[in-house]
Symmetry: C2
Amino acid sequence: MGFILRNAVIPTAGGYETTDVRIEGERIAAIGKGLASVGPDGVELDAHNKLLLPGFVNAHTHSSELWQRGIIPPYPLELWLAQLHEYSPPDPEKIYLSALATAVETLLSGGTTVVDHLILIPGQELATLEAAVRAYREVGIRAFIGPLLQDQALPACLPGGEGEAPAYPLSTAEVLALVEEAVEKYHRPEEGISLMVAPTGIQLCSDKLFEGCAELSQKYDLPRHAHLLETRAQQMLAQEKYGCSAVKHLQQIGYLDNRTSLAHCVWLTDADIEILARTGSTVVHNPLSNLRLGSGIAPILKYRRAGVNVAFGCDGAASNDSQDLLEAIKIGTILHNITDPDYRHWIAPRESIEMASRGGAIGLGLGEELGSLEVGKQADLVLYDLTQLSLLPRTDPIGLLVLGRPTQVVHSVWVRGKRVVADGKVTTVDVAKLRQELFEHSFWDPWRRSQQVAQLEARYRRVMGLPE
Amino acid sequence: MGFILRNAVIPTAGGYETTDVRIEGERIAAIGKGLASVGPDGVELDAHNKLLLPGFVNAHTHSSELWQRGIIPPYPLELWLAQLHEYSPPDPEKIYLSALATAVETLLSGGTTVVDHLILIPGQELATLEAAVRAYREVGIRAFIGPLLQDQALPACLPGGEGEAPAYPLSTAEVLALVEEAVEKYHRPEEGISLMVAPTGIQLCSDKLFEGCAELSQKYDLPRHAHLLETRAQQMLAQEKYGCSAVKHLQQIGYLDNRTSLAHCVWLTDADIEILARTGSTVVHNPLSNLRLGSGIAPILKYRRAGVNVAFGCDGAASNDSQDLLEAIKIGTILHNITDPDYRHWIAPRESIEMASRGGAIGLGLGEELGSLEVGKQADLVLYDLTQLSLLPRTDPIGLLVLGRPTQVVHSVWVRGKRVVADGKVTTVDVAKLRQELFEHSFWDPWRRSQQVAQLEARYRRVMGLPE
């Protein structure tokens, strides 16, 4: 049994048309004007004055950072991380709640897939994963969960290290065993829940960890993920560690392929960009955290001209500090206009939509399954209400969706053919109860100076050439 | 008769406190815990779990651009303007509707004052003003309306001009007479509607026009407004026209003073910044249109260090393309972290709030009247619901309001002591009817290449050194 969306506005090459779309099971079964009803009792939905688009991919986030959103002062990544680490790791119940909220905000801003680079609670790693999986199953969002892996301790992330960094509690083999156990327990792509291998990045991971992850990716057919060259400090560190760029090193150890998505990619050279293009790797653009942390502007126009696939992410909510995908898409679109005086290279809204949907799908190795309005593809769909104030007056619907500040515009969302948002409300979880629980598990706490930041700050300033 | 807000959360030097606020007439009469009721039938409002802040100033917009939001392709200002000019100027009824919508979006994103640099319909200049004034009176927002003035035609805005630009339909004297008539008809500051003098900028205005405006500002006690050095083309043009910077020239002809607010200020030198500081001029930061049009990043951290007052604006909705002040504040805060590696110079959320409220008030010459929570000041107040999902979990309320992506968080708004938003809804106008009218007065229209852009483009590319 399927259903029909009647009279949806969809983009065409030259503009827009009004048409019907039939969904059967998990897939788009037909697109065309005046489609026949699905049997005598077939469900029909009036999509009149509503824009239908493929769902977007929130291609990089860390859901549990939601508990610290708004609280960390303006710091660069390395000091920001030191303060983040100071907060006690949430318990699995809080992991569950922040994954729920991340999914809800993603759905209500046009996303149907979330990539959660999930920070694990030390000693409760599988319980962390279980909590996030439970949340994403309940909400019904498509989820890719990459347990955030490292086998080196935090101080190793700064260049100019003197001697050994403190040891990390788990060995590389233990970390990899954990991933394998998690994959066996939770990797269910046919049910919309997938695991990925996801070392945090070159700043805290050994080559052995990257190589072990690449093997698991082969063995279990998993997408690969990592942070890459988010800050200038990481670029300096890579030169110290490898004597070459981080990109070249990751290519040499075999981590880069066409299912590898790399978050940030701010500090790459032209030679690095060629490597990304050649290996078919995907850049996940997180424009808001790159500004918030002062990391820089990723050279997205260069990536596009080199043929590198680009997707959008919100990044963790403590460095953004939201999970509104439309906001990330807007800023990730217009930000680059100041990097190239030739406006012919600037990103047009239709291109942004494509990056957010198809670009995201390609980065997960699902370009054939997801990310466009085509018969046979998965029905991960979003219907936008074009009569909301923020999408009025009627001009160019996609232009206004991308460049405006759409609020309360997501009318309906389907993931794998199942409706999870109707009339602007998530139907699968009780959002009022979620708000109540987030409220009760937290307290107002003005900004403060952290102990860990104080410890790391003098070294950071020295290494980065800042006055004392 | 006044009223009391009970148990509002307000910021203090060290954090937050819960307190009562009494409003009498247009002003804040008392702030403190356990205030006595206002008479036996006194109105009390429960502000429990709500953050009270002074209203923000949307310190630069062009309301009628709302009709073109989302429709103009990614162009730099000069070509964008050419396409904007191609749309037939709206009639006064549409001016009224777009001013209403601009006011509604400003109120629902924390603004209580709007500065409308209003584009006048040729031949219907006073009718244009009448329509905007009517809208702002109905909504009850505090409005400063600056009729957008010029006495030179559009092609004059590009450097490298060959010969005379086509004449402008009105003489300088006629333009100034129009302003004076408008002031007599509509300038009613005691009722919350003020006029300003507002030449568009050096690119389309003669010295005589600036000087005449400065005289009217003296005569009628009006704030002054203008665009200033938004693009590199304007910087080049100023050198051609004056042989010195636009800032130096405006100072020499007496346009800069402590009631002068200048939109954009992207292309200023250190010497220019000193002039702004010395004259007490205000910079209005429009970060979103500066990105959208590729104008550049205004050196806001330098302004702040030089002691120049800075306020935030949305800019016209066709170059942003929204009127969400919280969005402008967020991006105008985090954008500058990439301009200075020393995070000690970065803008903290409390500073952003101050720029948006007090900074905006100072730019209008109202620093003593508006922009802070103090007894005796005008009651232009906004109450944010801290139990909305986008402001949860509880962390630092102002940190999350500025750095997050708050949606549906404005619970109540008062302007001059009068409530204009309650329970998240504007109470003074029928927003459903407004949406219906915006819908009916418009049609979906995909992006297209404009005639006027085609005419100007070759010259633009040549002058700016872009390939043909």
